[in-house]
Symmetry: C2
Subunit: 326 residues, 2 copies
C-alpha cells in the first residue's frame, strides 16, 4: 500500500488536488456540494428536525485495525461500520460524518482510491454523507483514518449502557469469537436491530461488543449485580473454534475476550415475557440470531461474572485492551 514511485503516491498530487480527487471518488451522493458538504470552513447541516443528536468517533490504523491481508475497500468500509455500530448501540439513525485522513506521503494513490471506494459504498448503503474532513501527514509507511459520525433518535429515547437492573436477562446478537479471521471487517452494523430495540421499550440497556464481553459486559452491570452466564448457550462463532485450535485456549474464552464482534449486547427488562420477545425478534430479524446468555442477579462477593450452573466465578475478567501490555 506504500510506494517508492513518486508518481504513484499521494505526494504527487498535493493537498488541493488530493481533496478534489477524494470528493470525486466519494461521488456527489456521499460528498454533497458546499455548504452542505466539503469546501467551506465548516459544513452547514439542517438539524431543524432533530431534537437529540448522537456523536461518536472511531478510527482505523494500518497495522492495528487492519493489515495487508485486508483489502483497501474492506478497511474503508470498516471505518464507517465501526462508527455505525456505535449508532446502532444507541438505537439511532446515522447522519453526516467528518473524515480525518493521516497518511504518509508515500501512500499509494490507487490504494487510497480503493479505501475511499469502501467508504463510498458503505456510506451510500447507510445514507451517510461525508461533509468535511482533514488530511495530515504521517511518517513513511503509516496510515490512520478517523471518522466522526453524527446520528439522531427518531422519537424514542437513546438506549444507554446504564439502565439494567437485577432480574434482567442478558442477550447478544449474532455469534462471538475468532473475529480476527474475517469478522473484524466483514461484520454488518446492527442498525435496524438497534432501532427496533430502542422503540420496543423492553430493552433496559445496550452497547456494542468491541473489546469482548469479558470487558464490555462490565459496563452494563450495576454495582449491586453479577452476571450469571449460561455458558452452554453462548453463541460461539465457528471461527472461535478455529482460533481455539490455534491458541490452545477454549472457544468460550475467545468468545469472551477476542472483541471486534460488533454485535449488540443488551439487557431485557425484568418482567418482560422472554418467549414473546424472542418470537417477535425471530419474525422481524430471521437472519440475525438472538441468544439469551445470562441474567443479572444480586452480587455476593467480588465476582462479577459467574457460571450460572456451578455458581463459580469465571476467570476471564477483561477483553482486548488497547495500549496495554497484555
Amino acid at each position: 500500500m506504500f510506494t517508492d514511485l513518486p508518481d504513484a503516491s499521494i505526494h504527487s498530487l498535493g493537498e488541493v488536488k488530493l481533496i478534489a480527487a477524494i470528493g470525486e471518488w466519494l461521488g456527489s451522493e456521499v460528498s454533497p456540494p458546499s455548504p452542505c458538504g466539503m469546501g467551506d470552513d465548516c459544513a452547514v447541516i439542517d438539524t431543524s428536525h432533530i431534537d437529540r443528536q448522537l456523536l461518536t468517533t472511531d478510527s482505523v490504523s494500518f497495522g492495528r485495525h487492519f493489515d495487508t491481508t485486508v483489502s483497501a475497500q474492506s478497511a474503508g468500509a470498516k471505518l464507517i461500520k465501526r462508527n455505525l455500530s456505535d449508532i446502532a448501540a444507541m438505537g439511532g439513525h446515522p447522519g453526516p460524518a467528518l473524515l480525518n485522513l493521516l497518511c504518509a506521503p508515500n501512500l499509494r494513490l490507487d490504494w487510497l482510491c480503493e479505501f475511499i471506494q469502501g467508504i463510498r459504498q458503505t456510506c451510500e448503503r447507510y445514507q451517510v454523507p461525508i461533509v468535511g474532513g482533514d488530511i495530515s501527514t504521517l511518517p513513511s509507511g503509516q496510515f490512520t483514518a478517523a471518522l466522526s459520525l453524527t446520528g439522531h433518535m427518531r422519537g424514542q429515547t437513546a438506549l444507554l449502557r446504564r439502565g439494567a437492573q437485577q432480574g434482567d436477562a442478558i442477550y447478544v446478537t449474532g455469534s462471538l469469537g475468532g473475529s480476527i479471521y474475517h469478522k473484524h471487517y466483514s461484520f454488518e452494523p446492527r442498525l435496524a436491530e438497534g432501532q427496533w430495540l430502542a422503540q420496543s421499550g423492553v430493552c433496559s440497556a445496550m452497547m456494542d461488543i468491541t473489546d469482548g464481553i469479558a470487558k464490555d459486559l462490565n459496563a452494563l452491570l450495576p454495582g449491586d449485580c453479577a452476571a450469571h452466564m449460561d455458558l452452554p448457550a453462548l453463541p460461539l462463532a465457528s471461527d472461535a473454534f478455529r482460533r481455539a485450535q490455534e491458541t490452545g485456549h477454549s472457544a468460550i474464552e475467545h468468545a469472551f475476550c477476542d472483541g471486534e464482534d460488533y454485535e449488540l449486547l443488551l439487557t431485557l427488562r425484568c418482567g418482560t415475557t422472554q418467549a414473546a420477545f424472542e418470537a417477535d425478534w425471530k419474525q422481524r430479524f430471521p437472519n440475525t440470531p438472538l441468544t439469551r446468555i445470562g441474567k443479572l442477579e444480586p452480587r455476593i462477593g467480588e465476582a462479577r461474572y459467574l457460571d450460572a450452573s456451578s455458581k463459580e466465578a469465571l476467570p476471564w475478567i477483561r477483553g482486548f485492551e488497547h495500549l496495554s501490555g497484555s
Copy 2:
C-alpha cells in the same frame, strides 16, 4: 515529550485508566457525565434549539503543527483554537466536540496531562464540552490529535466563502506573516468578530486564513473577478519583517504566503459605506485591527491578484500547501 521509562509513559496506564485520567484532567465542566459526554457508545446532545449546525475538523501533529519549542499546553490550546477559527469564519457559535488522540505508547504521561490542560482551559473559555473521543496507538515518537467540532448559527445565516461580487472590498483582521515564531499557536480565534459580521448583513463572503492569502483568497474570488490588492495597506506583522530578514524574501511575500495567521478574510458588499462599517468595527472591536486590503474588479486575462496601483499581476499564487513538495 517521549520517554524510555515505562512508568512515566501512557503505556503504563492502559486504555481504560488513561481515558478515565483524561476525563479527570478535562474536569467536569469540559467533560460532562454520560450520556451528555464520554462513557457510552455515543454522546447524546440536545439539539432541539438548533436549526443549522456547523461541523468542522482539524488536527495537530507533532513535527508538523508544533514542535518541542511549543509547550504541551499551547499545542493543546492550538488544536481547539484551529477548529474554533473555522466556526468563527462562518460567524457561528461553538458547541460540543469529539477528540481523537493518536499517541505512541512512549508518550510521556505528564506531557499528555499538560496537553489536555491546554485543551481544558481553551474549552472552558469558549464553552466547548468534549463529549467523546478515541485513542489509537502510533509508532514510537509520534503524536497527533484531531478534533471534530460542532457549532451553530443563532438566527443569522452562515457566512460562506462564496457570495463575493465585483465591487466588493476585501478586508482582513489583525496582521499577517511570520506566524512561525509565535502566532501559529498564540492566536485568538476571531469568534466574536465573526458572529458580529454574520449578523451585520454587510459581509458577502468570509473565511479564515490558514494557508496564507496567496492561496486562501482564491476561494473567495468569483471566476469573473480579480483581486486588486492595495499592497501598501497590507497589515504586516512585525514577525513578517523578522522572517523576511531570515529568508531574504520580502515581508509582503511572507504576509501573502506564510499561513497559520487564523485571521478573518472577508468581502464587504459593494454599496456598503466603508467609513461607517469601519467606524462601527472600531467601536465594537477596538483591539482587533481591520484593514481594507483590496477590491474585487472584473477579471481581464489570467491574473487573479494584481497590484492595485501598477495593475501588474502579483507573483505569489499560492500559500503553504500540505503534502506538496514546495
